[in-house]
Amino acid sequence: MSETKKGSKKNVETLEQVTIRFAGDSGDGMQLTGHQFTDTTALVGNDLATLPDFPAEIRAPAGSLAGVSSFQIQFSSREIQTPGDHPDVLVAMNPAALKVHLSDLRSNGTIIVNAANFNKRNLQLAGWDSNPLEDGQTLVDYKLIDVDMTRLVGEALSDMGLPPKIIARSTNMFALGLLYWMYSRPMDTTIKFIETKFKSRPEIVEANKRALQAGFNFGYTTEEISTSYVVLKAKKPAGTYRNIMGNQALAMGLVAAANLNGLRLFFSGYPITPASDILHILSGYKHFRVLTFQAEDEIAAVTSAIGAAYAGALAVTATSGPGMALKSEAMGLAISAELPLVAINVQRGGPSTGMPTKTEQSDLFQAMYGRNGESPIVVLAAATPADCFNTAYEACRIAIEHMIPVILLSDGYLGSGSEPWLLPDIDALPPIKNHKVTDSNGEFYPFDFIDQEAMARGWAVPGTPALEHRIGGLEKDSRTGNVSGDYDNHQQMVDRRAQKVAVVARNIPLATIHGDDSSELLVLGWGSTYGAIRAAVDSARKQGYSVSQLHLRHLNPFPSNLGELLLRFPKIIVPEINTGQLTRIIRAEFLVDANVLSKVSGKPFFPSEIEERIIQILGEK
């Protein structure tokens, strides 16, 4: 479809979906630019998914490959599941950004560069032998829009007498303005944002607004671009939406669980990428009476949470893999003391310090088995940024209703990625029943089950008259909680702790299949691979392949129908951002021939990677 925009000689084309990647130096404001484009795109009504990607260093050397920061967004008029694989448009603010990201661009894709930054020094730093904008071959397969943004912004601001540094810093707004024009988006959200963010510095507000406008105007006037695009509103279920990042949704899920169920939220954390945001966000929710505690280390974070749980709070701690390693002894204490606790692991690349800002799903084994002794624990995983809300709520529900610690796995991709979120009806969230005891009714046995079904002991919190009792990490008598070295009792307690996890299966939804109840191939997944798997499976199904998807939120215990469902499928693959952790658990548990599709590069799966494997297994059509 093609029409002419009023007052312009340019064509307007309608597209179904677009993927844009903004890339530049860490100091170029690419994250901010991406977030602005996202906010505006959300309000336009497109479905979208985003993927920020930044270096672990706060400021790697300017112009270097290590210092490149990027933000990818896919937006569409139909439902989408991922931030897209190969971008249609690459905004490269400097030669390093072009170098790092060029190979991902789809052929014939559009490259927008700030030509001013393609000087000798920057080219050298980025390892270009010749200037790719001029060598006549590097970029032949692409559509190049090369703009001297620095000069154009400088001209737009010429009467303001601003230092060159400020001018250079406003070029990201020029790029944003240009893309707003190209994709027919309004600028008012961003203008409002600029006015609020730089409220105290009117000259910066003015500079950014003018740069934004200059970019927009450039698109309108330049001969280089002949077409602008429209991406229509996506058809999505009715309701109120907002754009949400995973860590944000997670924090809100925790607040909801406490707030709606009469519990005090105690949250402790120690700064660690990519989980710190949860601490930051909850620290701002003091008016919800959230108690946040920045502990002196990871161990203090989890043990203070255990103390708070003992004292009757909804206790939560969040960290990433290395921090989880430090917490493992204390997790055993929570298991032994049968206290409700939620420990969140926003996974990142490992081992050791690994790749702090890159995503991975490699801590499933750690969650399942990473403690001394027989120490089973409930494990959940969130599937999408918005799903972090529900999963957080669910983790709290299980912890409180079963008097048991729960590990919630998220990851860097979910934590800082975003998507539109259909705001939930909070009245429809399941009520969480706690087991606080206020009355002894005669003799009180702290380790007797107060809820047989849930195998939950009474939550007799300090301060309750006549229920004074002692608990601890030594093996304890199954009724009194007093220290016990009795052999039969130990056997009984080991069995009991395993049973406690097992009975959670009765209190969680059954697994469901997307696609056909039985098909040739099942793609089984957990966590953040959800979107890529869904996109791949849907695409393959459209082409006539017999393939279905089963995605797990509950990893321990599994939904009780999982074994039966798996047996319906002759072939099972499990895409995982690890070397096959769920795969091995599934094989061991159900004796099925599940095979891993592994990728551990620090990047999430592209749908195309999964689709290729599906086609490879089922044969070309």
Partner: protein, 343 residues
């Protein structure tokens, strides 16, 4: 925070109300028995409701303590009693929270947490039972063991320099630092009461004799007649006198303490330094005395100052936020920022 509600209208408690039904498993003659007895004797006098009292411990001989107290109790993991206690106190500031720990538990594996509890100044009482040895693991040297000490893990003598607990606490911005001795029942009771009354973190070091692995570590302090020569019993506002009939005292020679004999050296009581528990420099000097040859060991309140407690500040900030922003509204929270409607 209504700490005081716990202090009114309770039926009078007796010592036996604080005794649990558990058989005590310490070695016969262990100093811990006396410490437990003094705690159980002191508590009825403190007048705190029993259900509002929580004992939290880590790992070690002394850390079995909570099982023997008929209050709420949590025997946690090695070194972490202080952090568990922090969570308990933050979640419920009304509770009277007591940490029982040892020199290994709190000065080795848990030293980091001890620093941070002290500097935050939560109203938690720490009983640091110091026997200068690892007892439960059968006799290895500890961070407070003296240099040269021969133990199972140091058959040729320890080359570690020992840590000075009161100085450690001072350096961690502690607001109440005191010391007592397992066998000095009355003194210990007084210190326990003072620790309870202090609003802020109370750090009470209690020398304890481990007769199995480090017998007589404090014999100079515990047995007559030597003890008079070795105990410097501190009283706020009183001159630092010690010895038989208070015949000796500490005089400051510039910044240097010296022991003077009032009967022989020609000094009078007026020459003796007067204890001022709010004086940090003096407190540092007193902390060091323990490790200086020929000086007596200070017992009593070495240092005390009044500071806001962490839990008060935290809860006040929360209340201020509620005042300022209104009580959090979940629906509004979900809808904050940009939203759009699809119909």
């Amino acid at each position: 925070m209504s700490v005081n509600t716990a202090e009114i209208e309770q039926p009078a408690l007796k010592r036996k109300d604080f005794v649990s039904d558990q058989v005590i498993r310490w070695c016969p003659g262990c100093g811990d028995y006396s410490i437990l007895a003094q705690v159980q004797k002191t508590f009825p006098e403190l007048g705190h409701r029993k259900e509002q009292i929580v004992f939290i411990s880590g790992i070690g001989c002394a850390s079995r303590f909570p099982y023997y107290m008929n209050t709420y109790g949590f025997h946690t993991i090695h070194g972490r009693a202080t952090t568990v206690a922090t969570g308990v106190k933050l979640a419920n500031p009304d509770l009277s929270v007591w940490v029982v720990t040892g020199d290994g538990d709190s000065l080795s594996i848990g030293a980091n947490h001890l620093v941070h509890l002290l500097r935050r100044n939560l109203d938690i009482n720490i009983l640091l039972v110091n026997n200068r040895i690892y007892g439960l693991t059968k006799g290895q040297y500890s961070p407070t063991s003296e240099p040269g000490k021969k133990t199972k893990s140091t058959p040729f003598g320890s080359v570690d320099r020992p840590l000075n607990p009161p100085a450690f606490a001072l350096g961690s911005a502690g607001t109440f630092i005191a010391r007592s001795l397992d066998v000095e029942g009355k003194h210990l009771q007084k210190m326990l009461a003072a620790a309870y009354q202090h609003k802020g973190t109370s750090f009470l070091e209690i020398y304890q004799n481990c007769l199995i692995f480090n017998d007589n570590a404090f014999v100079d302090l515990s047995e007559k007649p030597h003890k008079l020569e070795h105990q410097l019993l501190l009283e706020d506002g009183q001159p630092m006198l010690f010895g038989e009939g208070h015949n000796k005292g500490i005089r400051m020679d510039g910044h240097r303490p010296v022991v003077v004999d009032l009967e022989q050296d020609g000094y009078s009581v007026d020459d003796i330094v007067v204890h001022d528990k709010s004086d940090k420099m003096l407190a540092l000097m007193l902390s060091e005395l323990t490790y200086m040859a020929d000086f007596p060991t200070p017992l009593g309140i070495i240092y005390q100052e009044q500071q806001d407690t962490y839990e008060d500040l935290v809860h006040r900030q929360i209340e201020a936020a509620v005042q300022q922003l209104g009580k959090g509204d979940l629906q509004a929270l979900l809808h904050e920022g940009h939203t759009w409607i699809v119909d």
